[in-house]
């Protein structure tokens, strides 16, 4: 039972990080109707900037700069690249984000090489034990930070003018534009926030029990895509739920791997995708996604 609880709590922690990434992914989709496959690259970028700066400016300053830098890169990509091609075919937009992803990851992978960089998280690799349930300090802090940020973000959706504009733009871009909502600003802010969230998630994803920053961080971040879609691409609640579901499922399958050998070794890595496909067969628009309504 305590083992199960351990897996569950670790899963929730991982899931809250997936939710942070998935939320970024969803708000970009809501604002610009783009599936941003460069999101993994943003994550990598945030982690890299922090790792490089940490020795000279200290951890917290490095994190702040990392968040700003990632948000800035996201903002610039939106302005320079994606805002020019709003009407392009979705395959074109998707491949464009993949192109951006390729450039950023190639460059960072080359810079990181085969080394494992540390982001210098001050909380180290300690483990907290409560009644037999153990979780790394890093993962515990991750839950707290992620939920605070998610709470702030949901409040922002509800109470700030940007949040209202985002929801309106996602409902009907043209109508929102007619009502004086500046889509450009909504889009830019969405990308900035998404970039920032990716950098925060990177801080915790590279902490214990993970050894540090390796190029495959991007692959780990990929699991946030199924999280976003199984919740429903246009639903922020869905991103949160999807993130948690994927995180917990992955953690449980990893934990009980020994008794699940019939599924093949290392099945936990593909669990997010398997869960996603099962959900989509039953609900093609995800758990919380809205079915498109047509006008003729």
């Amino acid at each position: 039972m305590t083992t199960f609880l351990s897996f569950l709590i670790n899963g929730l922690s991982l899931g809250s990080l997936y939710a942070l990434i998935a939320l970024g992914f969803v708000i970009i989709y809501k604002a610009s109707e783009i599936l941003n496959f460069a999101h993994g690259a943003f994550l990598l970028l945030g982690a890299y900037v922090i790792a490089r700066l940490e020795p000279s400016v200290g951890f917290f300053a490095a994190v702040a700069i990392g968040i700003v830098a990632t948000a800035l890169v996201a903002f610039v990509s939106e302005r320079v690249l994606f805002s020019r091609v709003r009407s392009a075919h979705m395959a074109s937009l998707t491949i464009m984000t993949l192109g951006l992803d390729l450039i950023i990851t190639t460059d960072l992978t080359r810079r990181i090489g085969s080394s494992v960089l540390s982001l210098g998280q001050p909380w180290g690799a300690g483990v907290v034990r409560v009644g037999g349930v153990s979780i790394s300090e890093n993962r515990l802090i991750a839950i707290v930070v992620a939920f605070v940020l998610i709470g702030l973000l949901f409040a922002a959706f509800r109470f700030t003018s940007w949040g209202v504009a985002l929801r309106a733009a996602a409902e009907d871009g043209e109508a929102a534009a007619l009502m004086g909502i500046r889509q450009a600003r909504v889009g830019a802010v969405a990308w900035i926030i998404a970039g920032g969230l990716a950098a925060v998630a990177a801080v915790f994803l590279t902490g214990s029990p993970t050894p540090g920053l390796e190029p495959n961080l991007r692959t780990i971040a990929f699991a946030a895509f199924p999280a976003a879609i199984l919740g429903g691409l246009d639903s922020t609640t869905g991103a949160l739920a999807g993130g948690l579901i994927v995180g917990v499922a992955e953690s449980l399958f990893a934990g009980y791997n020994a008794s699940l050998t019939f599924l093949g070794g290392g099945f936990s890595v593909v669990v997010p995708y398997a869960v996603m496909m099962l959900v989509l067969v039953a609900r093609p628009a995800g758990l919380f996604g809205t079915k498109e309504l047509h006008r003729v």
Binding site: L293, H294, R295, V296
Partner: protein, 275 residues
């Protein structure tokens, strides 16, 4: 026909006689497009029935309804702008042709012959609506009026018994409107097709319609010949805006048509408000 809490059509019952041009008019939001969506199966009625002759169309999927002889020209053109005019009209032949991936891909003789025969018919239809000279141009390069006529040609290409025209002259200039009116009349005269027409342009309607039904706030407020409608006090009131009020009751369409007459009877449906 209901959209959430909103009832878009209520107790609308109309019957189009074979071989006539039957116009449906009404102010914006009266439920005209919803009526068409119910008839063509894009929305399904929550109550009531749509019949074509003896066949019930209610609840059938759009492609089945097309197969039974209801052709529809859309209000805002839903065709493919990069495809040629000919290709766009050919789409209307979909149900009348058989070739699939394998027979088309291997260019089997019968598939090639089928394609050729139907292309010939498409050329005829295009000439019928006066588009013979632009057949090979991409649709997107045509003028607005020409594109609207492509839409009518495409609906005609399904060889319908009933043709639904959704605002065929909206946004057209006088000359374009005149040509469209001629086409509508020619469809009735030489093809013997029943035309169900939604339109705002009164002079166009008065010149082509045999019978007019007036909708307001989802209800049928008048039904008669153009002359009767022009003098109907309820219609005049609706157009001058003296009646107001909402209807939260049940919604309906009844559509009956045999070899060309369509009638919509008590029918309700559910989705967001049209117009």
């Amino acid at each position: 026909m209901r959209f959430g809490a909103l009832t878009a059509l209520s107790e609308v019952s109309l019957r189009a006689e074979p071989g006539t041009v039957h116009a449906v008019i009404g102010p914006n939001g009266a439920g005209k497009s919803t009526l068409f969506n119910v008839i063509s199966g894009v929305y399904s009625a929550s109550a009531g029935s749509v019949r074509l002759g003896g066949t019930t169309l209610t609840g059938l999927r759009p492609h089945r309804i097309t197969a039974l002889g209801v052709g529809r020209a859309f209000q805002n053109m839903a065709a493919s702008p990069n495809e040629s005019v000919e290709e766009n009209i050919m789409l209307g032949r979909h149900l009348l042709t058989r070739s699939g991936f394998v027979s088309a891909g291997l260019k089997l003789p019968w598939a090639v012959r089928e394609e050729r025969l139907h292309r010939a018919r498409v050329v005829e239809i295009a000439e019928f609506v006066g588009l013979g000279h632009v057949l090979h141009l991409p649709l997107g390069t045509l003028s607005y009026g020409d594109r609207k006529r492509v839409e009518v040609a495409r609906a005609l290409a399904t060889e319908p018994r009933v043709l639904l025209l959704d605002e065929p002259v909206a946004g057209m200039n006088a000359e374009e409107t005149r040509r469209m009116s001629e086409i509508v009349l020619a469809v009735r005269e030489s093809l013997g097709i029943t035309v169900l027409l939604v339109e705002h342009d009164m002079s166009m309607i008065m010149s082509v319609a045999d019978r007019i039904s007036v909708l307001d706030f989802g209800r049928l407020i008048a039904d008669g010949t153009p002359a009767q409608i022009q003098n109907d006090p309820a219609v005049i009131a609706a157009y001058l805006g003296t009646t107001a009020g909402t209807d939260t009751g049940a919604a309906s369409v009844r559509t009956t048509a045999s070899s060309g007459h369509i009638s919509a009877g008590p029918a309700h449906t559910t989705a967001p408000s049209q117009q």
